[in-house]
Subunit: 364 residues, 4 copies
């Protein structure tokens, strides 16, 4: 958003929707405004329930309203990000309306419904901003024209680079612990970072899955910062698992956050002894930051990862063992496999002169 705004030939328009508008998920809208961006439209589209049913319906709701908004804003490009379920609404609205669609983070491989969404969005997108060479090649194999595939790195790495360049120090502890709930502890000593999201294609298993993770983390006997899950189908399951853990009184030395400012999160990754869970940030930002990561289960299945990642199944013993290995190893050297921190600028530069044909055609 900053790079587009800064480019002399581009005008930025921002549409906020879904969890970005909700306190329950950290009120991203407020963070966006605090960063100096005024949204051009806001659309409440998240239907309560966090089941596969409501995930589908919420996408439908987005697809009902976004056309009205796109019709008013009349953008030259709609840019959509990654593979969350609402991304599909953005992609369909733009493509059906003959508005050129740009897509970041396509071509990667993972588990959960995101895997299907990501590749389907690729089939609607007119311009592809791949985060890695590997991903770029996969987009071409999917039948996209090579001249429309631009390997620019991941925009999330831009932020990481910026934060680390400015000040990679630990967040101010007292201030940070004022938010969230749970125990507080000394961040200057080793701690774990836990971030585990539901796998929609394994809906119903989340409570058991998070229990294995929390069990392993508890046994390690390091304090832990634990993040609540994303609003995907099944997040209520994981939340229930976390709440149960807390109610049992087992959450000693754990502190829980709904959402953290990205700056804070990056600094925590910079200093955490190990990141545990299935967040893509472990694979992606982790490689750049050099964070030791234990990645659990199928969610990041086959996503290209650096040497900083160990994989474990949903099994407390295996997870614990992997964490132990990471603690022994310590931090990793930086690997720029998801870009070097200038994706935004590259994207803005390309969009400023890119012309596309509305009609797509598979290359084979």
């Amino acid at each position: 958003m900053r790079a587009v705004q800064a480019h002399p030939d581009l005008e930025l328009q921002v549409v906020l929707g879904a969890s970005a508008l909700l306190d329950r998920y950290g009120a991203v809208a407020n963070l966006v405004r605090a960063d100096g961006f005024e949204p051009n439209a806001e659309v409440h589209m998240l239907i309560e329930g966090e089941t596969p049913t409501t995930m589908a319906k919420s996408t439908g709701l987005g697809l009902l309203e976004l056309p009205t908004i796109f019709g008013r804003l009349a953008p030259d490009f709609v840019l959509t990000v990654g593979d969350r379920f609402e991304t599909m609404a953005t992609a369909l609205a733009a493509a059906y309306m003959n508005i050129p669609l740009a897509h970041t983070m396509g071509g990667e491989v993972s588990g959960t419904i995101d895997e299907s969404i990501r590749h389907a969005v690729t089939k609607f997108a007119h311009v592809h901003f791949a985060a890695s060479e590997d991903a770029g090649e996969r987009i071409v194999r999917l039948g996209e024209r090579p001249e429309d595939v631009h390997v620019v790195g991941c925009p999330r790495i831009d932020l990481v680079a910026e934060v680390l360049a400015k000040d990679g120090e630990l967040p101010e502890q007292a201030e940070m612990f004022r938010e969230g709930v749970g125990d507080t502890f000394d961040l200057s000593k080793p701690f774990l970072l836990v971030s585990q999201h539901p796998v929609t294609t394994e809906y119903g298993s989340g409570k058991a899955q998070i229990a294995e993770t929390l069990k392993a983390v508890s046994e390690i006997e390091l304090p832990a910062i634990v993040l609540w899950p994303n609003p995907d189908a099944g997040s209520e399951d994981i939340a229930a698992g976390i709440r149960r853990w807390r109610e049992k009184g087992w959450a000693e030395n754990m502190h829980f956050f709904k959402n953290l400012p990205i700056e804070t999160y990056v600094r925590l990754m910079r200093h955490a002894a190990c990141l545990v869970g299935n967040s893509s940030s472990g694979i992606r930002e982790g490689a750049y930051i050099g964070t030791p990561v234990v990645n659990i289960g199928s969610r990041q299945q086959r996503r290209m990862s650096g040497t900083n990642v160990l994989h474990a199944p949903h099994d407390a013993a295996a997870i614990r063992q992997a964490i132990d290995r990471q603690l022994e190893h310590g931090r990793y050297p930086m690997e720029a496999i998801y870009g070097e921190g200038n994706a935004g600028e590259k994207i803005a530069a390309i969009l400023s002169h890119k012309t596309v044909s509305t009609q797509k055609l598979i290359t084979y």
Copy 2:
């Protein structure tokens, strides 16, 4: 539907929506009921306007309601067809809800937004029933597992084969002309069949496009049966072009139908001197029936076709020339490139024992 119903291990459930419920588009629901199928659910989801905006919103509306319906019906498979815009709602609802998705007619190539929709649905589908070898191979190249791709032919050919086997004669003329509007004429003499739909990615050009076609058809001086367009974005344009033609008094020897029973349509294709327009039926059913076809513009662009098809741009002179060549040539021999008329049975047989993994994974 017949094959599924007839299979001892399968139970058929039918959900009707969109234009199938509307008189304006021929009340397919009534035809379905007349064929002995009782729909398990009906959902009005077509938002008026036939613009790119309403096409997107109608899909959103479908995606809002289908999850409620799928939740109630709890099917083992959802089967969706082809590449119409509403297909996307069906595909997303099923895939997001972890209901295995079967897809027919994937892997083909065409123009219009259908091209993107078709391949995106492939990325959500768990089982693929390709209509041709060519299409099956393309699905595999898109990263689908070969064991989930079944080349069974096109179910629409099944109906064609059935109709031709039973009675390939001309429809009863007086009865047929009781429907629709316009002049009547003698079907036993040479006549043209015209079926032209909007190209959503060329939205706004429909009126000029159909004018070229009607001009060419008029100049040929054969009577013509003309079908109204599908409810895609831009169909109002084509309809306006047709209405203008009629109001100008230029529609001599033309008869216009909103929709024809499939039997009638097949018999007309069997006897028409030439099918003109951009309907996929020319490519698909046309190859099997041996109908001479003049395919116009980009809509069926690159869709695998038999020898029976000549291509022409949206230009009256070029269209006329192509029709003349087809009239000279006459009927073609049957080419079974889209199957041999037993796709339904094959699909039913495969679905009856197929097991799939909810979690999809690209093969490369």
Copy 3:
């Protein structure tokens, strides 16, 4: 809209939706723009079908999107008109969002679902602009505070007065007949004007009802200008009835219009020998213009009418008899029972200083 725009202390915002955006219903959006108003938002919300089911769903669709729009526009008042089904969406969106709601044409009595809608909107409205003393009193009896009920006349009469003041002559005949379909005739000789809409609470009877009317009109042997029905549940029935009449070749000396510019319509009312049907314009504008009216069936049941109205049931003989009586009588003197042509100014003046309490409370 003109009066609000002209008022120094008010800013006009316009939201267009439903049939106003559709060619099928005369593309009111184009007329609005031609009048110099630029809509602040447009929302496609009409679901095809024109059944009771789609009428309800279309209202739901409006209620889904209007809150997003109202949130962006942040008006001080939302003004909604009358008793059409979409009015309910506007009223609910505003009232639920604590935006003061102003309502015109409340307090009247009629048939069809409009009767319930009108009074329900009154229960949500914070300011009431009644068109007649009678209606104003009824609003007070419904438990509204007398100080919030303003009898200002009907804004539609403002337009009538303006048109008549400027030029009450017949529309230019050749130009007018260029639109629509059907026979043309000499407007300077006696002609009928027919406008009949569906009665949603008698859904399914529309085809028979319009047949009685057209039969009576045919027997009168005067040429007739016939308007297509509004997009309410059942309008397809009436349209089918009209189409059948035309296809049978019985529509001699009839010309059919989807919609007429309000100026043209008023001038036609000024000169028509009789207005036949169930449009509220007969009761309302008719009283002011002095048009002889035959009002048919329950739709305007009990709506306060002037001496210019004769009532008839859905029976060709009775309708014919009533038309004959009106032809004998000729034009009526003007009765200003629905205002004197300055409602807009009065409304703007009141809105410019009105303050309301968000919390409504019934007065008894």
Copy 4:
């Protein structure tokens, strides 16, 4: 539901939607099933946010889906309850579809948007089941036909009567405190019951309002059972106020419940020293049970209440003073102003033979 199910001439159909399906609000669907009712349809329609905007949109979502469901179930009557925002969706869907609408608890007076909703639903309803004579008379004054207004009492009183008849004893303490969060205490000693909901028309004030209440309750120094608010616009405000109270460590001797089985709630009301807040249960069930009630603010403004209710503004000192007066007074004698516990039977009996005219007409 029990009375309808038990009646030989009636068939019960149940549609569950909105918060009834959500764990966050106590998963009423599970309670319904536990009571032996199998829902005929379930519809997720609550859009996250609990703002005036999402309250409107959720109603729109209900109005989009209920017509499909009502079309399938084809009921002879739709019965809707009271004045919650979703009630409007049910009422509109039924009335627009010409399905006779029955309404309980109409004709009462309150604050919040409920006041407008309740009377608007009355204007759509064909049969009115008033809970009190007073309410019945108000319905008639609203222009409804006296023969369609039946004063039957409040169905909620039926349940109260049933519970008290069976066993009015305190709930089993250990079991009850296993749910919810917070301190536990001895129910056999005096305790307070707190139930405070948002006032949508005072959106934004909820956090301050609940703070006054909790302050007063704390100062009284009796233990308290506190219920989380309903999912209305503003409930997040009240929830935030409660969470803040807890986080500050001020919630000593308080236990918090999302929802309580109705039996448990009635028994608590039977034994509570005082019910504090703005729940209609204080006015309604409270009169029958004889619970001392301190009703706060405008939400139950002017709702007919018995001698058991003292009113207080949102002011901790005033609330405390009123609670003190109630503690001094103790329990009240039963007042059957909202019925005698047989409303269900009466409703079922009337519905079994009631015929209505689809077309409503105001009586004046």
